[in-house]
């Protein structure tokens, strides 16, 4: 990758992130760094701490130890814990996106698709209806939702459309990082494939950084540059996606790779 001096600094750094829920360990001593335009997959079985890690990164959960560093748009890398709530929330609706597994959590089901996409724009001060609507229509077409559905509520959308709407809603403010929690979970295979195609092209075109939590190794292979394998709250293996998946070192990773069903 051809990066300027400042851009060679990582965009997001996790340092020794640890969270336990009573005696239950969420995740322990997770460290990584993510560069601009890089997509990292976090894989592992249920309960391995993937989602906890994502929540720690997005400051939805406070960590017991460790910190999250983020390089702001002004080039200064700051510890997210030192930011005020207003700053964090502003980041969350401008610089970051969060795609939930269940679109109902990430969408407002009672307002139209157009308003869902436009909400972030209005939140950052857009006050021209025509412009908001144009931007919403533009994004709907980019995620392959029929513009005729712009005034329909997401409750009338199919599962795949909802997920695409959620992605459009997150990307409309041109975030730098998108955190995704099982973005293709619960969708049937053909819909998954189209969504993955879409995600891959969006990530490439927009030079997005992304952390994708998934239990589906195929998703990881398709979308990510690097991969982190988690088990019992700890990272047991990490590296380039192809490398890890083609030549897993840890017995657990070997097991995961071997468990992929061959059609």
């Amino acid at each position: 990758m051809n990066l300027a001096a400042n851009e060679s600094e990582p965009l997001l750094i996790g340092e020794g992130l640890t969270k336990s829920f009573g005696r239950q360990i969420g995740c322990r001593d997770v460290s990584f760094c993510l560069h601009e335009g890089e997509v990292m997959a976090v894989v592992g079985e249920s309960g391995s701490g993937k989602t906890t890690l994502l929540r720690l990164l997005s400051m939805q959960t406070e960590s017991d130890a460790g910190r999250v560093l983020y390089r702001m748009r002004d080039g200064v890398t700051r510890d997210l814990a030192t930011l005020g709530e207003a700053e964090l929330r502003f980041l969350a609706r401008t610089d970051w996106g969060f795609v939930h597994q269940d679109p109902a959590l990430g969408l407002r089901m009672a307002v139209s698709g157009g308003a869902n996409v436009g909400e972030r724009l209005m939140a950052v001060g857009w006050r021209h209806y025509g412009n908001i609507r144009d931007a919403a229509a533009d994004w709907l077409s980019r995620v392959e939702i029929d513009i005729a559905r712009i005034d329909d509520r997401p409750a009338t959308y199919s599962g795949g459309m909802r997920q695409r709407l959620q992605i459009a809603r997150n990307l409309v403010t041109q975030p730098r990082i998108v955190l995704m929690d099982e973005p293709t979970g619960g969708l049937d295979v053909s819909v998954q494939a189209r969504l993955l195609d879409l995600l891959r092209s969006l990530v490439a075109v927009l030079k997005l950084s992304a952390v994708i939590v998934t239990h589906d190794l195929a998703v990881a292979r398709l979308l990510s540059h690097r991969i982190m394998v988690m088990k019992g709250g700890e990272v047991i293996e990490s590296g380039l996606t192809d490398q890890v998946l083609d030549d897993p070192r840890e017995p657990y990773t070997q097991l995961l790779v071997a468990s992929i069903l061959q059609p």
Binding site: G118, M122, A123, R127, Y129
Partner: protein, 295 residues
């Protein structure tokens, strides 16, 4: 009704002095932070929630023996709610009551602002059902408080966006959200949006009491109150295009009155005091809205 003759069983204006003090503290805080919803320990009042328990408590807390009280319900002085609240304070505070917006020093209102411009020595007390303008958009109180604290009001425009997307124009006609003094977004209670511009720079103090929801908020005199809108869909006042069938006013907010079983209707001023004033004689007979309340 010349000398104060409150029924001896009641403290002046019904509430005990401690309660009034508590409410006054909330009012002072509300005035200091225009548009901010101040929680207060709302009391049980001898009327059901939804009938103005919040407004009544605010009125009770600010009422003095020299005050002249006017109570309106949807602009009318002679509807059940208005009459019973007026009688309530006649009985418990012995204050002078009136139907004239000019004479009154305290006006308690349900869902209208009088047509007669208010002055600096008047206080307007609103009865409020749902104080939080964000409530229907975001059901969690913890979340709406945070949104107010951080002035995150994008969601308010989502509602207006939905209106335009669905109806082609901003179809919110009452409880139209306003921004007070450039900071807090506030629900003006379900007044028609026709009344919104009257709140802006109003010389009278405006107090809002929500009894069930236990909130008080305020607009101090001469405060900037802006109705939310879009650049390409600006706020518009709305009134039925026509003249009052009784007084001929073309500038007042009109109510539609169905007069028989065959759908005959007439449009008359919703502000009965304004209408009577324009017709000159408040005792004039024959008009259904003009009947003066019996003291």
């Amino acid at each position: 009704m010349n000398a104060p003759q409150n029924a001896p069983a009641y403290n002046f204006a019904y509430l005990d002095e401690q309660t009034k003090r508590m409410i006054r503290r909330a009012i002072l805080k509300a005035v200091a932070i225009p548009g901010y919803q101040v929680p207060f320990a709302s009391r049980e009042m001898p009327m059901p929630y939804g009938w103005g328990t919040g407004g009544v408590q605010v009125t009770a807390a600010i009422l003095g023996p020299d005050d002249v009280l006017k109570v309106i319900d949807q602009g009318a002085d002679d509807t059940t709610n208005a009459v019973s609240i007026r009688k309530f304070f006649q009985k418990t505070a012995g204050v002078k009551t009136t139907t004239s917006a000019r004479e009154a020093t305290v006006i308690q209102t349900r869902h209208r602002i009088p047509e007669t411009p208010l002055t600096g020595n008047q206080i307007l007390v609103y009865q409020v059902p749902i104080p939080d303008p964000l409530r229907y958009l975001e059901p969690r109180e913890t979340e709406t408080r945070r949104m107010h604290a951080l002035a995150e009001y994008g969601l308010m425009h989502v509602k207006l966006y939905e209106d335009i997307a669905r109806h082609g124009h901003i179809a919110t006609t009452y409880a139209y959200p306003v921004k007070v003094d450039g900071r807090y977004v506030m629900d003006p209670s379900p007044t028609p949006k026709f009344d919104n511009p009257k709140m802006d720079g109003c010389p009278a103090l405006q107090l809002f009491g929500a009894g069930r929801e236990k909130r008080i908020y305020a607009i101090p005199p001469h405060t900037r109150v802006v109705s939310l809108d879009f650049d390409d869909h600006p706020f518009e006042r709305y009134r039925y295009d026509g003249a009052c069938a009784l007084c001929g006013a073309t500038d007042s907010y009109l109510d539609e009155i169905v007069t028989d079983d065959r759908g005959t209707r007439m449009f008359v001023c919703s502000d009965t005091d304004y209408c009577e004033g324009r017709r000159g004689d408040p005792e004039e007979a024959g008009a259904p809205q003009a009947e003066a309340p019996r003291p």
